[in-house]
């Protein structure tokens, strides 16, 4: 596969907000305020102004609505789209356009999944639909139990969910079912994850932007991991990333323009992904594995590179069990050896092929892959701090779960310091 767009677009700016475990109800700590902070930080990073942007890519996705709780006083200044959730439990492109001084005729794109945004922005820049795109990922963590609204709260269910929800096949169950099959396929057990879980938390504790670094600077022990409660076996508490309040922003522009800006460009050498796709819970794991490995080969081919050219990888791990799948699909290790690879020094910053350099979502808190992206961009700029992979020139970022379904797909970027 040749990809004419190779190296045509670049990440020029990255930024993110303060983080918090949950919203405290204050306007200054709201998702609206965090989004404004993240966008300002990304613009400052590359030296652009809001008026320089002509595209906005957003996923106005929320796990739970704030309603029926009353909107706290003082939020009025942030809410200008007529949707009272916009700015509290989610952020839309329209919200960003209106509130942050971006021209009203900029391309506004609201997408279904957080994992589609950066590839779509790259495509738009390469196709000339816009020249400088802003991508925002903003995730709210509201007080109360997580993700118990919507279909799971209703007495009746329609569509494909009627074959799943009545059995309690919801939320983590999809991942538990596919991971169980993975363990069976390769003769592994859940406890084999413990060394990787411990190593991953240690990596997270070296990332100053992360939740554990800031709020819970303690290692995870193998004993704690192995005695953690099951959520849906074989997925335990420490296999689930921690929901936090966070907003992240990315500026993606043409290679030519990026070269004139404040930071060294990080070029998009290849990209791709699958879904969202109308698959059911009974789509077999072996088929996901084959589909994903085939798409990964296509992405390598577009980039004119392969795993042997890679200096580092940051693989999505919304569940800890996901990153091993991606290591295998993209050929960083053999099939069935993902857990072993991520457990050893082979994947450390000084190892043969560093992965999860900031500990991913399980090391810094949930950001739907935004942390994976800004960590990788900074590594390729050479500003990775004491996590810096020496001489890093080529990186892989995979965003999203392997089980592309309705509403959620996955995407990957091969990024490079050089075109």
């Amino acid at each position: 596969v040749s990809w004419e767009q190779r190296g045509q677009a670049a990440f020029a700016g990255v930024g993110h907000s303060r983080i918090a475990r949950r919203w405290d109800g204050s306007p200054a700590g709201s998702l609206a305020a965090l989004t404004a902070e993240a966008v300002a930080s990304a613009l400052d990073d590359c030296g652009l102004k809001p008026a320089d942007l002509d595209g906005i890519f957003c996923a106005p996705h929320s796990f739970d609505p704030w309603a029926p709780r009353p909107v706290p006083p003082g939020m009025d200044a942030y809410q200008m789209t007529g949707d009272p959730e916009d700015g509290i439990s989610k952020i839309s492109a329209r919200w960003i356009g209106r509130n942050l001084g971006i021209a009203p005729d900029a391309l506004h794109r609201d997408m279904a999944s957080m994992f589609e945004l950066t590839p779509a922005a790259v495509d738009a820049v390469c196709a000339g639909a816009c020249s400088t795109a802003l991508v925002v990922r903003a995730l709210a963590s509201l007080p109360g139990r997580y993700s118990e609204s919507g279909a799971v709260s209703q007495p009746e269910v329609r569509g494909d969910l009627q074959y799943e929800l009545p059995y309690g096949c919801a939320g983590s169950a999809y991942h538990a079912l596919y991971f169980q099959r993975y363990l069976y396929r390769y003769g592994l057990a859940h406890e084999d994850l413990a060394p990787y879980a411990v190593k991953n938390r240690a990596a997270g504790l070296r990332a100053p932007f992360g939740y554990y670094y800031q709020f819970k600077p303690e290692p995870l022990t193998a004993g704690e991991y192995l005695s953690a409660k099951w959520i849906i076996e074989p997925v335990c508490l420490y296999d689930c990333d921690l929901p936090i309040m966070v907003a992240a922003a990315f500026v993606i522009t043409t290679a030519e323009r990026a070269a004139t800006l404040r930071q060294p460009p990080v070029y998009v050498l290849g990209q791709g992904g699958i879904g969202p796709a109308p698959r059911s819970a009974s789509y077999p794991y072996e088929a996901f594995e084959a589909d994903n490995a085939a798409e990964a080969r296509r992405i390598w081919s577009k980039a004119g590179a392969g795993p042997g050219d890679l200096d580092l990888a940051n693989l999505y791990d919304g569940y800890l069990t996901i990153a091993p799948h991606w290591a295998e699909a993209f050929g960083l290790c053999a099939a069935g050896e993902g857990i072993a690879y991520l457990s050893t020094d082979n994947s450390s910053v000084t190892g043969r092929l560093p992965s999860q350099t900031c500990g991913g979502s399980n090391g810094v808190g949930r950001s739907h892959g935004a942390a994976h992206l800004y960590e990788t961009v900074r590594q390729l700029r050479g500003t990775g701090g004491d996590r810096q992979v020496p001489g890093a020139e080529t990186g892989l970022v995979v965003l999203g779960p392997p089980t592309a379904r309705a509403g959620v797909g996955w995407a990957a970027h091969v990024l490079g310091r050089n075109r």
């Binding site: 993700s147 118990e148 799971v152 709260s153 209703q154 007495p155 494909d160 074959y163 799943e164 929800l165 009545p166 059995y167 309690g168 096949c169 919801a170 939320g171 169950a173 538990a176 079912l177 596919y178 169980q180 099959r181 069976y184 409660k229 099951w230 959520i231 849906i232 076996e233 074989p234 997925v235 059911s280 819970a281 009974s282 789509y283 077999p284 794991y285």
Partner: protein, 125 residues
Amino acid sequence: VQCCGTCRRYQFPPRVRCTHCGAADLEFRAMTGRGQVYSYAVVHQTRVALLRGTEPFIVVIVELEESPDALVVGNLRDVAPAQARVGLPVEVEFEQVTGDRQVPQFRLRGSPAGQHSADRDEGER
């Protein structure tokens, strides 16, 4: 379970076209209801409001004996969580839910209908 008259493959849930070959001549076939556990998960904390308080329970994907394409979701109702395994032989039973509705469920093959003892001696299987 829906089966394609052109390529003869099964698919679940039902669709308007065959997801394997695109043909439109789909028909529903009666299955034996026998199969084996393809994968399972033990739910200790559910998000489904109507099931809250019934944990732990087992969600299974069952591979029906007619075809590896015939994968269906259900609960495995007469097996203790610690005894669940990939490959267990199971068979369908229909659970009466609200009104005249029934949903397919699964039990260990050969276990007596209507008995859902979670702690039955494994020896009798």
